[in-house]
């Protein structure tokens, strides 16, 4: 059957006013394949929709072009109109004559509009339907980690009715939850007992992930626990593996008992038997690593506590104090109000051991002079690093990490808690320098995403929108190597030939594989070479 | 008449050889000049074979000149330019003209030279080449045919004590030693410890082989940096580069000679190895100065 294209003009309620629609309609009507041309003033309102529906039926149209606003704006809507007319939503193309036509140029743009429509018509004539299908998914979720973020995620997932496995490498849950930025009054102990009492949550401690396979809705994870390996199926995986800290210190100073970490200072503050209270305390942060959100919070928290509990003199050396939350702002004010001194230095201060004390030499930017401070205790700068095993786990799951080794925190374009691989999510410190408040927003956001994916037991997805033609595929593995979403693997066809198999669920329809395939085997409906070239060819005809 | 090198290796406690690099062209007057200058001051003159893959007057030709002028020539044979037929033929010719010493080496790659598009041969490698000389020495060619008039070469080879990683290099040296050589001449060395480590290893494999440390005077910090980056197997330590950098302008060569002489003296005094091989390419006329400063004259 020949493809019949129906073109629907819309002037967006008069918003498009520099096109001679009558002339345009006449020209468009002559384009090959165009069966009917309609003019409307508000296609996306009920009357317009009805007009479209009846026209599609009456004229027996099987490809639709709408010449109106941007597809970013209304493509989705018009596809639904097509569906309700019994046409596949993919048999649709838009000519953006408003944002990229009428509004972008002065004067009459009839000629350009007609050309934009010609591009859309040429593409539309070649479009193929893409079916949708419900894919059953496993509703269990794996949460890796045993800290604050992991326990929280497991609890909330369980609360929305998703069975969850909490997998922790350590022997007990919550053993490494001492939060650099402070735990904001959360009682980790009661959270652990809540998790332990939750029937919907399976807890695997002293366990590790050994291998993973599969895709969203159907991950197979091999877990080792107690010398035994078991395979589990999950619909989604949440990583909450946290971070670790490392003192940024010259090696000869590492053994100095007067130089401590934030964590050590906390323990000293809680120690009722502490014999000597340090009279002068120095703090340092923001020199070696400018991602210092957590170090800042820890410093503010602990400086305040020491000031209040010990009445120590406190000096904070830093490049800048980064207070990016109301909580941090409040802490900073309080610290200043009670006499904590902040010194802004461009260069990292020089630290030397000095007769049982620590000498700090710095140049304050505002005072412009060298400051020398001898203190009883120096709370050293701490570097934030991904926790041990992050690298191994990311390579098992085949997901990327950013230049600092955290999970993909740098690509602002991505949904912050989602990996590039569908069905794998991150929460908390494993995705960067994030304080507790961010964990508290991450968790619900991940839980909502996982719930949306898995709760119905099915995912509705397009079938073979992107597909490798088994006749043309030479199994060169190029697409498998380049796929940003890890959606392709070798599969055997019925006649036992190996070809690239693209997972309908995992594919994000970017077309990177289609562009790179040496055999031109990949068919990406809507963006096939023919469909792209059909638009280009209109230039030559004009 | 010069003493045969084989005798020298047996009798002398500290052997000194120098490199004679043939020039580009048929004019051999410069080569003769160097031969005359050095033949009585060193125990052998080692003539390079299209060194650094740059086409030159042949090693064989200069060896003949050394012989004619009363010196003791050591013929260098690389595997780069000749297949097994040509190498055997050359060796027969050399021996028939009184050249009795051969240094077997792989040869630099064609890519570093001035005929980069040439076909490189490497029909044999250096270990196989040593075996080949032994085969000829036994009166047969490689194909097993009897020779009418055999040969009897004193065989030497090369090694790189400062290779990184060293282990694969040592395995190769071990193979060369087991193939049977009378002397090993090293790539330029600048670190005595490296040399010591290397000689210790050689001694464990073959107690009888003589080791000649390669000495290449460096005449400036720039040259040192260049050599580190571009000359395969050469690693000049930073402290020497610093020492060179501090030398006043115009005294680079003198400084280089001083450093080289210091190294030679140390090697000799500490009996690190059995001798030295001096390569002062392009400044052959100043080799006597090194010998004098190091107390070898």
């Amino acid at each position: 059957m020949k493809n019949k294209v129906g073109v629907f003009f819309c002037d967006c309620g008069g918003a498009i006013n520099n096109i001679d629609f009558d002339a345009a309609v006449k020209k468009v009507a002559k384009f090959p394949g165009v069966t009917c041309v309609n003019l409307s003033s508000n296609l996306c309102l009920e009357e317009g929709e009805e007009k479209m529906l009846s026209c599609i039926k009456e004229e027996n149209i099987n490809r639709v072009v709408v010449a109106a606003c941007s597809p970013d704006f209304k493509e989705h809507f018009f596809r639904q109109v097509l569906e309700s007319a019994g046409l596949n939503g993919h048999l649709f193309s838009m000519a953006n004559i408003r944002e990229q036509g009428s509004w972008a140029h002065d004067g009459d743009i009839t000629v350009k509009a007609v050309e934009l429509i010609k591009m859309a018509v040429n593409r539309a004539r070649l479009l193929q339907p893409v079916k949708k299908k419900k894919f059953p998914v496993n509703k269990d979720v794996l949460v890796v980690g045993g800290g604050f973020a992991a326990i929280n995620a497991a609890l909330q997932l369980s609360r929305v009715g998703l069975r969850t496995t909490l997998l922790e490498g350590e022997a007990v849950l919550g053993s490494e939850t001492a939060e650099l930025g402070g735990l904001c009054g959360f009682d980790i102990g009661s959270m652990v007992s809540e998790v332990e009492g939750d029937e919907n949550i399976e807890i695997l401690t002293s366990a590790e992930v050994r291998a993973t396979a599969g895709k969203i809705g159907d991950f197979t994870v091999r877990i080792r626990k107690g010398g035994e390996e078991i395979s589990h199926k999950y619909g989604a995986v949440v990583l909450a593996t946290g971070y670790q800290t490392k003192l940024a210190l010259e090696s000869e100073l590492k053994s100095d008992i007067n130089i401590v970490s934030q964590e050590k200072l906390c323990r000293m503050l809680e120690d009722p038997n502490l014999e000597i209270r340090p009279r002068t305390i120095g703090f340092m942060f923001d020199f070696s690593d400018e991602n210092s959100r957590l170090s800042t919070l820890a410093t503010l928290n602990n400086a305040l506590a020491a000031r209040q509990k010990w009445d120590s003199e406190i000096y904070v050396f830093c490049k800048s104090v980064k207070v990016d939350s109301p909580r941090a702002e409040k802490l900073y004010r309080e610290a200043r109000d009670c006499g904590v001194v902040f010194l802004k230095c461009e260069a990292r201060p020089r630290i030397t051991a000095d007769n049982g004390r620590v000498k700090i030499e710095a140049k304050d930017v505002f005072l412009g002079e060298d400051t020398i401070l001898a203190c009883d205790l120096l709370v050293a700068e701490e570097l934030l690093l991904p926790s041990e095993g992050t690298e191994a786990l990311s390579s098992l799951l085949n997901i990327r990490r950013d230049s600092r080794g955290f999970y993909q925190d740098e690509n602002v374009h991505l949904y912050p808690v989602a990996s590039e691989k569908k069905g794998i999510f991150f929460v908390g410190g494993c995705r960067g320098d994030l304080d507790l408040s961010r964990v508290l927003t991450d968790v619900p956001s991940v839980v909502a995403s996982v719930y949306e994916l898995l709760s119905s037991g099915n995912i509705l997805a397009e079938v073979e929108r992107v597909k490798a033609d088994p006749q043309k595929c030479v199994a060169c593995l190029t697409c498998i190597r380049v796929c940003p979403h890890d959606a392709i693997q070798l599969v055997r066809t019925d006649n036992s030939k190996e070809v690239a198999g693209i997972s309908d669920l995992a594919c994000d329809a970017c077309g990177v594989c289609a562009a790179i395939c040496p055999a031109k085997a990949i068919i990406f409906q809507g963006y096939r070479d023919e469909e792209i070239l059909a638009q280009i060819e209109t230039i030559g005809e004009s | 008449m010069a003493t045969p090198f084989r005798e020298i290796l047996k009798t002398k406690d500290f052997v000194v050889t120098a490199e004679a690099a043939p020039g580009k062209g048929s004019n051999v007057s410069k080569a003769i000049e160097h031969i005359e200058l050095l033949k009585d001051k060193v125990d052998g003159l080692n003539v390079t074979d299209n060194q650094s893959s740059v086409m030159r007057y042949p090693s064989l030709g200069v060896c003949l000149l050394v012989k004619e002028h009363g010196g003791e020539p050591i013929l260098q044979v690389t595997c780069r330019d000749r297949n097994r037929l040509a190498i055997q033929a050359d060796l027969l010719f050399a021996y028939s003209r009184g050249i009795n010493n051969v240094l077997c080496l792989t040869g630099d790659s064609i890519d570093v030279g001035d005929h980069k598009e040439a076909k490189q041969v490497f029909d044999l490698d250096s270990v196989q080449l040593i075996h080949l000389v032994h085969t000829l020495n036994s009166g047969k060619d490689m194909a097993g045919n009897e020779l009418d008039g055999g040969i009897d070469f004193c065989i030497g080879t090369t090694a790189t004590p400062s290779a990184d990683p060293l282990e694969p290099q040592l395995i190769k040296v071990e193979k060369k030693l087991k193939a049977g050589v009378s002397f090993v001449q090293t790539q330029a060395v600048y670190e005595l410890d490296e040399l010591k480590r290397f000689t210790e290893f050689v001694r464990t494999v073959d107690g009888g082989v003589k080791i000649l440390a390669g000495i290449v005077p460096v005449v400036g910090a720039k040259m040192a940096a260049y050599m580190n980056d571009n000359v395969p197997g050469v690693f000049i330590p930073q402290y020497l580069i610093d020492e060179l950098a501090q030398a006043p302008k115009g005294t680079g060569v003198a400084k280089g000679i001083e450093i080289a002489a210091r190294m030679i003296r140390q090697i000799r005094e500490e009996k690190v190895c059995d001798g030295v091989h001096i390569m002062f390419i392009g400044r052959e006329e100043r080799v006597p100065e090194i010998l004098e400063t190091s107390g070898l004259l």
Binding site: D72, R400, E420, A514, D529, Q535 | -
Partner: protein, 128 residues
Amino acid sequence: MNKCIVAFCCEHSAYPAADLAGKLRLHYPESLRIIRVPCAGRVDVIHILKAFENGAVAVLVLGCEDGACHHITGNTRAKERVEYCNMLLKEIEADGSPVAMFNLSPNEPHKFVRAVNEITKRIKEPGR
């Protein structure tokens, strides 16, 4: 004949940026023809060459900012292909017809217009 410039626009960045340019009435040459692609990484060498075969005078490939590609490496692959195309055009002394890649965010309509103006400047009249 209308001398067209073809711009392949990533639907995550350049396409919305172009829409925004229209909304803000930031004008650019009418000869621009935008082809919407799901990612700059979908654009292949042959698409660019065919644009020239069909009479385009310049081709733009517009994708997400470095490190912010929705599909991780799509924009860097596109950049490499653009460079390859420039090499192919240079080989046939057709480098008066420029191909360029620009990176931008969806909220940068001015950058979109700058990219169009920039490529327009690079077009050389034949014979010059």
